[in-house]
Symmetry: C2
Subunit: 465 residues, 2 copies
């Protein structure tokens, strides 16, 4: 650490004593998230416990041109928290209080460092429901979900994080504290700063309080696992289910290898899968009424009769539902355990999903890579895991980006875009010119400049170099 950084450290230690940490161990932990095998070691990691402390940090860093990168639970998949220019990592880990569950207004006010599942359970105790449930819900922070506009399986019926964020308290890069809106369900008062912050990946300010809308919690659900003999037909069935007027609360796609890797990696999972099953759909409906759910299931079955499927597994018990969801949630982890990988987060209008899947496989053949596809088919959101396997380092570094560019071009041509729920962060930024032209990118950059004129907050993210 250089002399200047040493002076900063003295300030931070004075401000927050043992919550300013520059040990090698902590700095190493905060050098990475769940994105590939990337690592950038920061100079110091700060653990503020209040909005005021965040404001003091930002004010100091603004004055002294210190780079700050906010970090949540570091479960991100696009490298949004990687401190690529070193400096300060500001962890929200100790901003971990649920401040108020307002059951009268169906709202919750929380700090950003609360684990999403902890928040969900807390509001469920009052009969309330916070739907967005990324696969990492057991460890990710709600602040990270807001920053990346996370989705998850329930998005198909209930929407993504942005649909629940009513208001945010934010510390701006200069240390000023603002609220972005009001705690209301409808708002036509000035520009929508709230939605500008949602999904901005920690580049515009540090989110210190979050007001979320909640729903009454559904009281029951039904779950089906449907084996298809043809993967593209499984994608087609997704659209057909919606055409029949049913909105499932989950509609997940897993191709053969996704399930195979998962069952190999987690032998405790017991799911009957046959060799000739090319893909599966996991279909959930939820609600408040047994009979209505059964009628929805019937309508889904009628649709599926017209597709090449094997015997449907109807989850009989809570334990069996857990098994099936657990299998779905562990796919990412299993595939990644198998090989070095790159994960793409393509999203298209849902009817274009079979075309997208076909394009992934065609491009894979052309460039010679293996991919494992799964994801939130109901939203048209397909996660594409590209396995390194025995591909050369040379191809991995220089050839693969060409192939990925081709995939993203197809995605955009299909009406889609390059990230549905993982964000752009560090690893996807080079592909931004496929999704946006120079005019659009210039507008976004100017917006960044409005909030962060010195480009000291989470620099190097979103925008191509």
């Amino acid at each position: 650490m250089d002399k200047i950084a040493q002076e900063h450290l003295v300030f931070f230690k004075g401000l927050m004593s043992e919550r300013a940490v520059d040990s090698d161990g902590i700095r190493l932990i905060y050098s990475s998230d769940e994105t590939e095998n990337l690592s950038f070691v920061p100079d110091v990691v700060l653990f503020p416990i209040s909005t005021e402390e965040v404001a003091a940090i930002m004010k100091y860093c603004d004055k002294h041109d210190v780079v700050v990168t906010p970090a949540g639970a570091r479960t991100g998949l696009s490298g949004g928290m990687l401190p690529v220019e070193g400096g300060v990592v500001l962890s929200t880990q100790k901003l971990n209080q649920i401040l108020e569950i307002d059951d009268k207004n169906h709202q919750v006010t929380t700090q950003p460092g609360v684990i999403t599942e902890v928040l969900q359970k807390a509001v469920k105790e009052k009969g309330l429901f916070y739907p967005p449930d990324p696969a990492s819900k057991g460890s990710c922070f709600i602040g990270g979900n807001v920053s990346e506009n996370s989705g998850g399986p329930k998005a198909v019926k209930y929407g993504v994080t942005s649909d629940y964020v009513l208001n945010l308290e934010v510390v701006l890069p200069n240390g000023e504290v603002i609220w972005t809106g009001a705690n209301v369900l409808k708002n036509a008062t000035g520009y929508n700063l709230t939605q500008l912050f949602v999904g901005s990946e920690g580049t515009l300010g540090i989110i210190t309080k979050i007001v979320l809308k909640l729903l009454p919690h559904p009281t029951m659900d039904k779950l089906l696992l449907v084996p298809f003999f043809n993967a593209e037909k499984a994608c087609e069935a997704v659209s057909a289910i919606f055409q029949a007027g049913v909105i499932p609360s989950g509609l997940e796609f897993m191709e053969k290898d996704a399930i195979r890797y998962t069952l190999n990696c987690f032998p405790e999972l017991s799911v009957p899968v046959k060799e000739n099953h090319a893909a599966h759909l996991l279909i959930e409906v939820d609600g408040f009424d047994e009979e209505q759910l059964m009628r929805e299931i019937e309508r889904i079955m009628e649709v599926l009769e017209n597709f090449p499927i094997d015997e449907i597994l109807f989850a009989e018990s809570a334990a069996q539902k857990d098994q099936l969801w657990s299998m779905r949630r562990k796919v990412g982890e299993a595939v990644k355990a198998y090989s070095v990988y790159k994960e793409e987060d393509t999203v298209v209008p849902r009817y274009a999903l079979p075309n997208l899947l076909k394009a992934v496989k065609d491009i894979g053949k052309k460039y010679g890579f293996q991919s494992v596809c799964y994801g939130h088919a109901g939203d048209g959101n397909l996660h594409v895991n590209i396995l390194k396997g025995d591909l050369s380092d040379e191809f991995w570094e220089n050839g693969l980006p060409v192939a990925i560019s081709e995939l993203f071009q197809v995605t955009v041509r299909l009406g889609g875009t390059i990230s549905g729920e993982h964000g752009i962060g560090w690893v996807q930024k080079r592909y931004m010119p496929i999704a946006f032209n120079s005019v659009q990118l210039a507008l976004m950059k100017q917006i960044k400049r409005v909030f962060d004129p010195k480009n000291k907050l989470n620099p190097g993210k979103i925008f191509p170099d």
Copy 2:
């Protein structure tokens, strides 16, 4: 018209011949919307028929520093389309094509000049549902709805316009054409330009195409009119219904005078209302299943048993439902026919609604004005019509704004804000400092500058002088 304006006219006539209109009659029509009795006459009204024509207009106006104000159907209630600095009014009236109803993806792509109800009916023919339904749905344009982030009675269950806007084609003030996002249900790719445009009241660009999300259309609904002997108790019942786990598709509040004026003004409406009814709730549930709706109605009735109500009117036929909804939709018109008025569009967390209503009445007593209150109680959105009656012009001009400021201060203290669905436009901008402090306003102004550095697009709106 001065010589410079005359030169511009020559250009516009050359570009669009008879669709550039400077007749006194058309200029007078485009001098006003539905906001109070305000009128600002533009120099010329342009009726472009394509995005390319809008781009040519904007390019020319940018180069020659001509002020442009976009206009939809001029049904706005905050003066968003008033050409307060003269210049060009750019009407979207001839951008009136529904371009594609994509029933496979549950999306519609439309130009901005399509009447909202026309759009709703067109998608309904394919079994699809576009829920936002402002009271003016029979005449307002979808482009205006996007620009003002309109709501309407169905917002309580289905959300407001912003919840349905997936992507926008926009002509920027310099004439460049961009899309703001992608046609997808989830998007974590860069800053959310789409939601920045929604509700920006035509100050950042001209919206030329709109991609909206659609839902399967509910197949049935039930409607109740519930008379209360006490208006604040009616507001309390609103919250209690949600607490019981029911989400109605409409939950409207009308105080006594709102109904009285409406029934007087429209004698063809026949609704049994008694002298001792202090307020009514109009409650609708919708869905796909008769039995489930009946169970929801039962749960609502159980809640209402604990409140001071008279006999509930259960709408028996489609005709009776139309009568009740028609009455609700005509309240604004009826109250305004009765007196010169000012309409406020307060919104609070719904449980705070009784407090807000009480504050309106207390402030009315203090300052000596009569108000008629009604609105979307399920969203906490209360329209407050202040009647001029025999109040002095002096009080109306100088005294009333003090009273309104007091009302808005209470609204913000209750966690709310100053406009739920009408926008800020021209008439509410002086109150913006109650909703936002100087830091927040400065950020919004800088965002305006990013898109419109010369401040030539719809100037004089949103921001206080």
